[in-house]
């Protein structure tokens, strides 16, 4: 039975650091023949989680990636951890395009994209520790 392949990254606070994690998703996924289009969706979800952590978090931003290659439906697991003040995941309004078009603030799509691109998303957050854990199977989302 093939063992899961794991990778842990600590993102530097530099421009485009989120792409380091995104590229790692692609690299790991290719090793287990994860479909390219699905990988692109997982990459975007991980990039979004990293952007949140880099923008609103503090301290190190840690990314843990695991690919599970040994079933008929291989799957990817990703967790992004930061040590910022935390937020209420249930308190974030879902973005509506019609409203955003007339709003001054047009941002706020990240969590929605993560939830819609991944099969399962679990967000735990308290002051000092926020963790977004997400999974995606090959035929999912």
């Amino acid at each position: 039975m093939a063992e899961p392949v794991r990778l842990r990254l600590v993102l530097p606070r530099v421009a485009r650091a989120e792409l380091i994690a995104g590229d790692a998703v692609e690299d790991l996924g290719r090793r287990v023949d994860f479909p390219r289009d699905t990988l692109a969706e997982v990459k975007l979800a991980v990039v979004e989680a990293c952007l949140n952590a880099l923008e609103y978090g503090a301290g190190e931003v840690e990314v843990e990636l695991t690919v599970h290659p040994d079933s008929a439906n291989p799957w990817i697991e990703a967790a992004v951890v930061d040590h910022g003040p935390g937020f209420d995941p249930g308190g974030q309004p879902r973005p509506v395009l019609a409203a955003k078009l007339h709003a001054r603030r047009k941002r706020g799509w990240g969590l929605e994209l993560i939830r819609r691109l991944m099969d399962e998303v679990e967000i735990t957050s308290r002051p000092g520790l926020t963790r977004i854990h997400m999974t995606r199977r090959t035929g999912g989302a």
Binding site: L19, A40, L97, L101, W109, E112, R116
Partner: protein, 118 residues
């Protein structure tokens, strides 16, 4: 790593085609918004963004594209996209962008339709 490039590939009457390559993040999105504003202020009313060389748009880039869309709607123009990767197409579908923009499989198909409109 996903170097961003933007160029005006075509200008024909009120139509302009912007070719976008690389990662659309805050910087890329701002560059597109700047160029789009200039074109709309100069009288362009149809903007086609050809994304054949773009593989990822993050949510900040998306919010800047919404600024372009808002401005285009204000001037009663059309914002269109072509050559989307499946993941970008899915992102746009999640946002509901197809209701407000026109999306084409390739540039040739887009030009046929958009030239007709103007």
């Amino acid at each position: 790593m996903e170097t961003f490039e933007l160029s005006i590939a075509q200008r024909q009457g009120e139509l302009a085609v912007l070719e976008v390559a690389g990662y659309i993040n805050n910087e890329g999105g701002e560059a597109i918004a700047r160029e789009a504003r200039t074109l709309l202020d100069a009288g362009c009313r149809t903007l086609l963004l050809d994304l054949h060389a773009t593989r990822i748009i993050n949510s900040i880039g998306i919010s800047l594209l919404l600024e372009v869309l808002e401005r285009t709607i204000e001037v009663k123009g059309t914002l269109a996209f072509c050559c989307l990767t499946p993941s970008i197409a899915k992102t746009f579908q999640i946002m509901g962008l197809a209701q407000y923009t026109r999306i084409f499989p390739d540039r040739a198909a887009a030009l046929v339709e958009l030239v007709k409109v103007r």
